[in-house]
């Protein structure tokens, strides 16, 4: 009996085609091994990379060697120290070392592949300029061109459902062609997961429609450890309203650039500059985390905007000043950057013009997942032949993503692309386990076969209600306990009752695909809620109102989650240290994050 509609054999399967996956494929192709890229969308037009700002990071000395203005006082070692310190010591120092070592190599690759660069400046509030600014669309276009030029085989609009393992090693994967509904067995020696975050699990997020945590969830199902799952970064000043612009971070991007940074007021519904109560010294220019928490507390206290945000206001300025801001923005975007992005060219001037008469509703959107699949500095996981690169991996950032995720994608993609061919050449193609395939096929088709149950739309609403209210930016014991229980229920009950109702056609069936994606989103969110409940402190991107201190004596450790039948096994890893010793003592959250004033306790 035929197990699947199609069978493909390759050496290396790469799941994801953009910043991490694409870079890995180009690097691995130098070795001459067989490669197949599978992507859920279309290369260059899917995933989060295309939407990046995009800034890349390299230390000043390396930047100079690459031909940028740079700063010779800077070095990879200083950059390393900044990253470890600012991510509050939870990061894997071996991974951080690789990050600073490979960052210039990645930049060189991208420029060789024709990625245009806009400017060299300070990004992420660095002490020294370490930012090379380009755009996400230019980044992915360069990768796409190179992949097409090299003729690397590509399956687009195809969703990988699960990994196949044989005797503890990777033996392949099962995928679904979204357009035809056909199932595919891929037999291979190694797999690189480069599938990004699980943004869509949150009702308000900055990611595209396809980021549903597929790689992280399939790794978890295959028995891999997930780490730092509680570290989810929320981006403040993201457009909440109207629906057409919801999720755009264009005003946040602007808020980091001179002269816009100093002219912004954030107001609550009473028209008060609420940052006065949280960080009177720095006000709206406080850290990203403090601005996020302050905005969220205002909303909780009923002082938010009608659609769950706060107000971005320029009404205190003169109209002529706003005209000047529009001109400055247009000059940079059109003349210096020559950027054609809608967000910068059309939306931004429109929003600024609007600011002359009204305020804009902005809020905290799920933006970046610092946790994910546990890997080492060579992107290896605990399953032989399985690697993870980019946002789906965890460990690099510790508790705050303090530098470029684009660089992370490139660095880890490049490392994975270097290391996998060596592995591939050292092993034979493993046999696949047909019972495993049958079980996965049964899981895939279950929502199509069921006659009644919960619809994907209904379950998605349930998921968003939990993630929005109980696993959001500000967390506490009671909400997290409820969230864990409800998500457990969804994962082991609702998911099994998912039912595709509108059409049973296998072609382009939105309900069917969403059913499979929901299982992944719920898995990731469950891990996030579980890890959040365990961590009894606040650190970096992670904030608990019932444990507001950053506790270096008890919590300088990473939480590791592993599937054990229908339960989860919890363990702790000490941070991996190479050069910088871990600090001791308890700090208030504000001290730890670098802000010394104000109380963040709920009144």
């Amino acid at each position: 009996m035929k197990l699947c509609d199609k069978l493909i054999t390759t050496d290396l399967l790469i799941i994801g085609s953009e910043g991490a996956g694409g870079h890995a494929a180009i690097e691995a192709s130098k070795s001459g091994i067989d490669i197949l890229i599978i992507t859920k969308g279309k290369i260059g037009q899917c995933g989060a990379s295309q939407m990046a700002g995009a800034d890349f990071n390299v230390d000043g000395s390396s930047a100079k060697k690459l031909g940028f203005p740079g700063d010779e006082r800077d070095s990879p070692e200083l950059f390393f120290e900044t990253l470890v310190r600012e991510s509050l010591y939870l990061g894997n120092q071996k991974m951080v070392e690789k990050y600073v070592e490979y960052a210039p190599k990645v930049m060189q690759d991208l420029m060789d592949w024709g990625m245009r660069v806009y400017s060299y400046e300070s990004a992420h509030a660095e002490e020294m300029a370490r930012g090379i600014i380009s755009s996400g669309t230019l980044w992915v276009a360069a990768i796409r061109r190179k992949i097409k030029e090299l003729g690397i085989p590509l399956l687009e609009d195809t969703m990988v459902i699960d990994l196949l393992t044989t005797n503890g090693s990777i033996s392949g994967a099962i995928a679904l062609d979204i357009l035809s509904g056909e199932t595919i067995i891929i037999r291979c020696k190694a797999i690189i997961l480069a599938t990004g975050g699980w943004h869509v699990a949150y009702p308000f997020n900055t990611g595209p429609y396809d980021l549903t945590g597929d790689g992280v969830a399939m790794a978890y199902r295959a028995g891999l450890e997930l780490i730092n799952m509680e570290m989810v970064q929320f981006c403040p000043i993201t457009l909440v309203w109207p629906p057409k612009e919801r999720g755009s971070i264009v005003l946040y991007m602007l808020s980091e650039i001179d002269p816009f940074d100093k002219s912004i007021h954030l107001l609550n519904k009473n028209g008060e500059r609420f940052m006065q109560d949280y960080d009177p010294e720095n006000m709206e220019q406080s850290t990203k985390e403090i601005v996020s928490i302050a905005s969220e507390l205002e909303i909780e206290k009923g002082r938010g905007s009608p659609h769950g945000g706060v107000y971005y206001s320029l009404k205190h300025t003169r109209k002529r000043f706003i005209d000047m801001l529009i001109k400055v923005a247009e000059h940079r975007i059109k003349n210096e950057y020559k950027d054609s992005r809608y967000e910068l060219n059309e939306l931004l001037p429109e929003l600024l013009e609007k600011c002359k008469t009204v305020d804009i509703e902005v809020g905290n959107a799920a933006h970046y997942m610092s946790g994910g699949i546990k890997v080492n500095e060579n992107t290896e996981t605990s399953i032989k032949g399985l690697y993870a690169a980019g946002e789906c991996s965890g460990g690099l950032w510790g508790s705050v993503r303090v530098a470029s995720a684009c660089t992370e994608a490139g660095v880890q993609g490049k490392i994975a692309g270097e290391i996998t061919p060596k592995f591939v050449k050292s092993v034979e193609l493993p046999d696949i386990n047909s019972k495993q395939v049958k079980n996965i096929m049964e899981r895939i088709h279950k929502p199509l076969i069921r006659k009644d149950g919960i619809t994907p739309n209904e379950l998605q609403q349930k998921v968003h209600a939990i993630s929005g209210e109980k696993v959001g930016l500000i967390k506490d014991e009671n909400s997290l306990k409820e969230a864990v229980n409800e998500l457990e229920n969804m994962l082991y009950k609702d998911v099994n009752n998912l039912c595709v109702t509108a059409t049973k056609s296998k072609k382009l069936n939105y309900e069917w695909i969403r059913s499979l994606e929901l299982q992944n989103m719920i898995t990731c969110l469950y891990a996030t809620a579980k890890a959040s409940l365990i961590r009894k402190e606040s650190r970096g991107e992670f904030y608990r109102r019932d444990y507001t201190n950053t506790d270096n004596d008890n919590w300088l450790k990473t939480i590791v989650l592993k599937k054990k039948n229908e339960d989860v096994e919890i363990s702790f890893d000490e941070p991996i240290i190479t050069k910088i010793d871990l600090p001791k003592g308890k700090l208030t959250y504000q001290e730890a994050i670098g802000v010394t004033t104000a109380s963040l306790k709920k009144d």
């Binding site: 969308g41 279309k42 037009q45 899917c46 295309q50 939407m51 996400g136 669309t137 357009l179 595209p208 429609y209 396809d210 309203w241 109207p242 629906p243 057409k244 612009e245 919801r246 999720g247 755009s248 519904k269 028209g271 905007s305 009608p306 659609h307 107000y311 992005r341 809608y342 967000e343 939306l347 009204v358 305020d359 509703e361 619809t455 994907p456 739309n457 998605q460 109702t501 509108a502 059409t503 056609s505 072609k507 382009l508 069936n509 939105y510 309900e511």
Partner: protein
Amino acid sequence: MWNIELKKIINVKCFRFDPEKDEVPYYDMFEVPINGTMSVQDCLEYIRENLDSSLAFFINCRLGFCRRCLIKVNGKSCLACLTEVKGDITIDPLLKDKVVRDLWVKDL
């Protein structure tokens, strides 16, 4: 002091075709409530989440990055995510002879 929203209902006339079971294409009519500035894509999402989950259309970045949500609105080609809905609309696929299902066109 803040934005005043006007809620209204618009009619969306939407192209439907499943080459597997329909002999010829047809149109479905949907009523969509407009609340704040909404794009054509927001309307399609509303339909799929509330009225008819079998509707096939492309959605990804929602903000003009991926440029893959090309469709025809009132006969004109445009990106669904960047096109604001101001009144009743007719939505067609970009190329009617290349339809996989409904508004999703082959090689998009």
